[in-house]
Symmetry: D2
Subunit: 132 residues, 4 copies
């Protein structure tokens, strides 16, 4: 999946937020985000949108890993536990896939393995190839 | 609501992403994000997580506007339309509120007023005051 | 939209639950459910699944009203307020639609007009005509 | 958990729909629904609301299994695959729980074990005991 890793080097938002892709295989992906000051909100905990961004990256990588363009159409995220430091991890698993739609579950955990957030995402799968 | 505006000056993630709070009143808020290169994903459209971040800011401001701490527990977001440039706007409206839980609808629109995403968020309301 | 009303006469689940379709036009629909004993759960309030069923009917009617088959792929429902008697109403509004996907917001209210639940649903639109 | 089984005998909506509770333990539950004519919609597939009802029952049983009243506040359901006959099963797993909020994942499968729907639900936990 070297080409997927190259592909996601162009994701400027993930770079801006500071997310590092660790692994990718067909239908799954794993990433991490080391908590920095710029991830915090006004009450000094990691911003929900930073957690979403981490989960969204592996969602995007996993759903595009089959080689055709997948576009996010719906996401549901539940926040279980606050985090304020250390490293957060996200792991995407493919739950279902047909030629048009696919669904993924992403678990965001902290260093102790505790669940920080649960993310359920659906993509619409286009016919366009990622690498024409 | 000057104190809310001050409060959100401490939101370092919103600042990192480049979101500007425009208005806040009890239960509602409005913000904008001028699309920059760092908001784009690998296929040059605005990243879903950037759109989420914009919506999440007004969700947070609106739900904390009553003066007690509100913590996001669940969000559902539907992406309607891709955006790649210009300025995006988000507006939060309070849908329901009791002493423990409250719900908000956030509409993200582009300069032409077209709907880019619809965000439905729920908070758990703590007893802690924002300004003790 | 007489044909839509006929079409939904075949919805045996809606009939079983006791839902009455009141109105349908392109992209929207309205229905009601008079609360009966069989809608109640173990603590004598209207079952979340009964409220979902009412909302789901207008979602289905509104999304199929354009004449091509629309299949529900995702729903998010937030329950705001308990109900235990009287009549509940559901109204569906089309939020967005392209040839493949469409989204609807359904508000469930009681007789006093208070919001009982907010339902956000997405359909996948097939090419099949409802009436060949 | 005999008392939970007794408790859910009072769920008139589950009875009306035709759902049978199979198992309950702390934080989890399993049920089944034999597909009958009254579960079908206008195009002869199992109604989304019937599938929701099945999932919602185990969600309710699992979240109330700790002995204090749990009230559904948000549900996200994704429909993966149509079903038209046979028996459907739902299984609830507790994902997280604190004194105020808890989250559950419910998988709805058919006889072949294929995933029909994935349901993510959140409850607000009251202080009231189920059996005073």
């Amino acid at each position: 999946m070297e080409h997927m890793i190259q592909f996601f080097k162009n994701d400027r938002f993930a770079e801006r937020v500071g997310i590092e892709l660790l692994e990718v295989s067909e239908g799954s992906a794993r990433a991490r985000m080391e908590v920095k000051d710029h991830h915090l909100n006004s009450v000094n905990i990691v911003h929900g949108a930073a957690i979403f961004s981490l989960a969204d990256l592996v969602f995007s990588v996993a759903s595009n890993s089959h080689g055709t363009v997948a576009v996010a159409v719906n996401v549901n995220i539940t926040f279980m536990k606050a985090a304020s430091k250390g490293t957060l991890f996200a792991e995407a698993t493919e739950v279902s896939r047909n030629p048009k739609l696919a669904s993924y579950t992403i678990r965001v955990t902290d260093e102790a393995g505790e669940l920080i957030a649960l993310f359920q995402g659906m993509v619409y799968r286009k016919k366009d190839k990622i690498f024409p």
